[in-house]
Point group: C2
Chain length 311, copies 2
């Protein structure tokens, strides 16, 4: 058994996008085993347990990941993660991977795969609602798939939005109002909001939205009217209904789960697609264990391995 | 973050029994968070993911454990496990524990706690159906709670039964027929059977049974007629109905889950109990994540810790 650190260093983002895309394809073909993630609530946050088995890639294991919004004040990341991989033939734990950075990257990769299939044009204006680590990961991953000609950034805290732009190189990037940030080709929302931030009237026809922030019951970022105007694609049906962007509107009777257009996996395998150029498409991302396993497999080729005695 | 090995060495079994009993008490008071364990099927076995949070003991974490019956032929244990403990305040992984031996011990401890509360007398004849590692763990743990004056052992393979006895010191122990082994005060079943082995007519009034072997859908060791003659106590309602001794009879309509008498936790806190001396009691054990967390907390004080960089 080995413990891996620094596995995100030198990872090829395009290779990560392809591995995650392949995992979604297997999900679309119903080839994976992935029970919906389990949530356990702690006093100041929660942790999630995410097992899966991807037969075609020969990977099985579990990611354990916490969300503690007050951690930065203690000098710790909000989200920290470990991925444990098991040998398929014997069930023996083979690898424990520090997956804190990998978690950002695999979520970015899902947004990139969705953008590849749903982008309304080849050169896009990207709108960002939220400017944390996941916003950075989305920009880096999406830039591997399509040309971003301009980025419009909004954060609840204008200082954060102004700080974000200098971190982006090679793309024009500026902070703006939320209405202006929503007037774009691809909109990416990455906030921990528990009430709609993005109003339907700010979003024009043909926009694609990566709704990333809502990943637990009670969280939502989009006006339910926008969901009903759009074609909503989820990463996983059970997880999205339980904890994705649609969870609160479904609970309140403002959105019907029968209206979900399909899964990203079905889009990757060509079973579903954007119907019209002027359609608004939404990718509701909750984060899947299969994304974690797909990135873990390539991440193990990087970083440092410490050999641990087992059993 | 630290990786712990050899934590089972020098563990005080009585202390383990008390820690597991305390965890069951919290379960009986509905003080724990423990979603039912998740099963993922692999080609030659399965693995189970078991998260939990015990606020009163200040422990949160996940056990990951496989069951691969063909492993011994490859020189590996059938069951191998890791337990990951998280810091309650921040969600940061603090400890990774080699929990392969601890898994045997915490299951033994549950059997010991059940025997303490359900034993029909203070000095007992113990019947064992199955002679693997878990049979040994049950004997060792039960012997901490009550006096075992004789052990009657049966195994499908008589060689295994004959090999078992010399490993027991200080208690008369001999192999016998299955009917004779069932004619005892406390019967412990630890086989991977998928059909009833213990017939109702072999078990006399007043016997207590620890039904340990059935821990996955499709497994069963006891004649359903015996379940209907007895008072059945489970470790956890949802897990037992899904994968405990009662899972197959419930599926076949041979046992009604409404007939379950209660949980071991309810017995520990005095809410439920053996009703009459001549009652047959059955403890249906599936194995709970809270048992793993309880033993992990005391196990960390033993063994060797290897410091690992994180995050």
């Amino acid at each position: 058994m080995k413990y891996y650190i620094g596995t995100d260093k030198g990872l090829d983002l395009k290779q990560v996008n392809r591995a995650v895309e392949e995992a979604f394809a297997d999900h679309g073909k119903n080839l994976v085993q992935m029970p919906p993630k389990l949530y356990v609530t702690l006093p100041q946050g929660d942790f999630r347990t995410m097992p899966a088995y991807l037969p075609s890639l020969g990977i099985a294991g579990v990611k354990i990941v916490n969300v503690h919004p007050n951690n930065p004040a203690r000098g710790l990341p909000t989200v920290m993660a470990l991925t444990i991989l098991l040998d398929i033939a014997t069930g023996k734990p083979e690898a424990i991977i520090n997956a804190t950075q990998l978690t950002d990257m695999r979520t970015g990769a899902a947004g990139a795969v969705a953008s590849k299939y749903f982008a309304p044009k080849k050169e896009v204006v990207l709108g960002l609602i939220g400017t944390g680590r996941q916003a950075q990961a989305q920009v880096a991953a999406i830039a591997q798939e399509i040309t971003i000609k301009e980025i419009c950034v909004w954060s609840r805290n204008p200082v954060h939005a102004d700080r974000f732009s200098p971190g982006i190189t090679g793309i024009e990037c500026h902070s703006t109002t939320i209405e202006r940030a929503c007037d774009c080709d691809i909109l990416v929302t990455t906030t921990p909001s528990r009430q709609p931030l993005v109003m339907s009237e700010w979003v024009h026809e043909g926009t694609h939205i990566n709704a990333i922030g809502a990943d637990a019951p009670g969280k939502e970022e989009l006006d339910p009217a926008l969901l009903n105007r759009a074609s909503v694609f989820v990463d996983d049906m059970a997880q999205a209904v339980h904890s994705g962007e649609i969870n609160v509107p479904i609970q309140k009777g403002l959105y019907k789960k029968e209206n979900i257009s399909g899964t990203l996996g079905e889009v990757v395998i060509g079973k579903k697609r954007r119907a019209r150029p002027d359609e608004i498409t939404i990718f509701d991302s909750t984060g899947l264990a299969i994304q974690d396993l797909a990135i873990a497999k390539i991440a193990m080729m990087h970083g440092t391995a410490i050999v641990l005695p087992f059993p």
